[in-house]
């Protein structure tokens, strides 16, 4: 059952050929078999999951249909508030935190009849990791447990790539959905800023935070966004725009699309590897062969996006953690604290310079997307590094290329395109116009089909 898509599970549930309890037990069995060595989950809500699954089965038998997620197992990164269920941010500072109310995302899954399997490992406060000095061990990459998953939605990526669950929620402030997706062979979408409510999700940096799913396929991601998208008047960033049918164009292919490749982003990056570049070049050829117009173009220097993103992130994160940093610094993991303290060095002039650059580069990406239906670039410059060869995901030399679209707010999706010579996944990043996730899913699905990734067996 681990290979069944969300749509296939839904069809089987409605046909009566499988029950939600059976799907849930199957997922739990895989978790019990694999998680002791992979550490995806920080909390398993087994009893509740089986009760919710039984309720879903009863409802469906009696004709109540809550939609595509009714009876479908899923899991949440442990920064999403869940009523009555501990939500720790993978941190000693919040080990006893049991929220009274659900995050909006958790509420939407619950209202849709989905089955919550548990809470997933994250880098501490969605920033600091992978770390061995936290209350829970870091999640490991199922493709090779000696390698990291990327972060911060580490447990989400591990749970899906190991077949424990088909879809899990992550969050993305600088690439925390798309990075782990790229390094674990998954699809990860950061929707447009304001598309999915962040209410009830512990913030890392308010103006960069996005909620979104990691999943096995583009179709899974489109179905999940359909459940989650919509205006929340109590989220200051939420935008009241209509929610389209995200699956409408899924199988329209690439023919006729115009796609720009901002090569200046990555061609001179020191961390760029041959395997990752080869994956992108294959994708360019495949899209052209499928009838898309794919041409090189330029965006402002990547370094400018990266600098603006890091300053904004560090300043906002420090504002959130200031009191605890002063009084409980040693209760944070070392990596987390070492990163957060930099926020204390950002001046008002630095922050405003970053916001002026933010306007400048956002205008540039909007201009580019008036000429192109989508942009094609890289999620990561390398495959996943080993635990014993750590890299600072925020440094100027980091092997990620995701933060530009947190700065600009454009939707971006990471789609796997193959395996590198080290046997680890490589991916590409596709960027779309604001609130045009439908086209993003169309391009992503085309890449998924053309790359042949669907035929690759997960570890």
């Amino acid at each position: 059952m681990s290979d069944m898509s969300i749509a296939a599970m839904g069809a089987a549930l409605r046909a009566g050929s499988v029950t939600s309890v059976a799907l849930t037990r199957d997922a739990l069995n895989r978790i019990h078999a694999k998680d002791p060595s992979l550490h995806a989950f920080v909390l398993l809500t087994e009893d509740r999951a089986l009760a919710d699954a039984a309720r879903a089965d009863t409802e469906m038998k009696s004709g109540v249909d809550r939609g595509p997620f009714h009876g479908i197992p899923h899991a949440l990164k442990d920064i999403y508030d869940t009523a009555g269920i501990r939500t720790t941010c993978h941190s000693k500072l919040r080990l006893d935190n049991v929220p009274a109310a659900n995050s909006v995302v958790a509420e939407r899954f619950e209202a849709g009849g989905a089955v919550l399997l548990g809470k997933l490992a994250t880098h501490e406060f969605a920033l600091g990791g992978p770390s061995f000095d936290l209350p829970f061990p870091p999640a490991r990459n199922p493709w090779n447990p000696d390698h990291v998953t990327g972060g911060s939605s580490s447990g989400s990526a591990t749970a899906i790539a190991s077949g424990m669950v088909r879809m899990a929620m992550g969050s993305d402030t600088g690439g925390s959905i798309r990075g782990p997706a790229a390094w674990c062979g998954l699809v990860g979408i950061k929707p447009t800023y304001g598309r999915v409510s962040r209410r009830g999700v512990f913030p890392l940096a308010w103006s960069l935070d996005h909620c979104g799913p990691l999943s096995r396929s583009v179709e899974d991601s489109a179905l999940t966004l359909q459940l989650l998208a919509g205006h929340d008047p109590l989220d200051a960033a939420s935008v009241d725009v209509p929610v389209p049918d995200y699956s409408a164009d899924l199988n329209k292919g690439a023919k006729g699309l115009k796609i720009g490749v901002p090569r200046n982003f990555f061609m001179s990056a020191a961390a760029l590897t041959h395997d990752v570049l080869a994956g992108l070049e294959r994708t360019v050829v495949q899209l052209r062969d499928a009838g898309a117009i794919v041409e090189d173009m330029a965006l402002p220097d990547y370094a400018l996006f990266g600098a603006a993103g890091r300053v904004i992130m560090m300043a906002e994160a420090y504002a959130i953690h200031e009191e605890n940093m002063k009084t409980r610094l040693l209760d944070y993991g070392e990596i987390t604290a070492n990163r957060f303290v930099l926020g204390a060095t950002v001046t008002a002039a630095d922050y405003l310079a970053a916001l002026r650059v933010r306007r400048e580069v956002t205008d540039a990406v909007n201009d580019a997307l008036r000429r192109y239906d989508a942009l094609l670039c890289l999620s990561a410059l390398s495959t996943a590094p080993r635990f014993d060869a750590p890299v600072d995901a925020l440094s100027s030399g980091a092997p990620m290329q995701t933060i530009p679209f947190n700065v600009t707010g454009h939707p971006a999706i990471s789609v796997p395109v193959g395996l590198g010579s080290d046997g680890l996944p490589t991916g590409v990043q596709i960027v779309g116009r604001a609130f045009d996730e439908t086209t993003l899913f169309r391009v992503g699905r085309a890449v998924e089909v053309l790359s042949g990734w669907e035929g690759v067996k997960l570890p």
Binding site: S207, A308, R310, M314, K326, L330, L342, A353, R359, E360
Partner: protein
């Protein structure tokens, strides 16, 4: 010209003092290296705009907020 390592270290220590933060001495070298990288990034952001270039998120009244 980028600041000397000594000047960077002094500036970093001043920020830590004024923020009321106390880093364990064993971590100082690691954080100082990150700070140097961060300062080099910050330098990219300055000196590129005219006085009329406004930042993102400039406050805007709307009919809704005016009610």
């Amino acid at each position: 010209m980028p600041p000397s390592p000594e000047a960077l270290a002094r500036a970093f220590d001043q920020f830590m003092t004024s923020a009321g933060l106390t880093l364990p001495p064993a971590r100082r070298a690691t954080v100082l290296a990150s700070y140097a990288d961060f300062k080099a990034q910050i330098a990219l952001l300055h000196g590129r705009h005219e006085h009329t270039d406004e930042p993102a998120h400039v406050f805007a009244q709307t009919a809704e907020t005016a009610r």
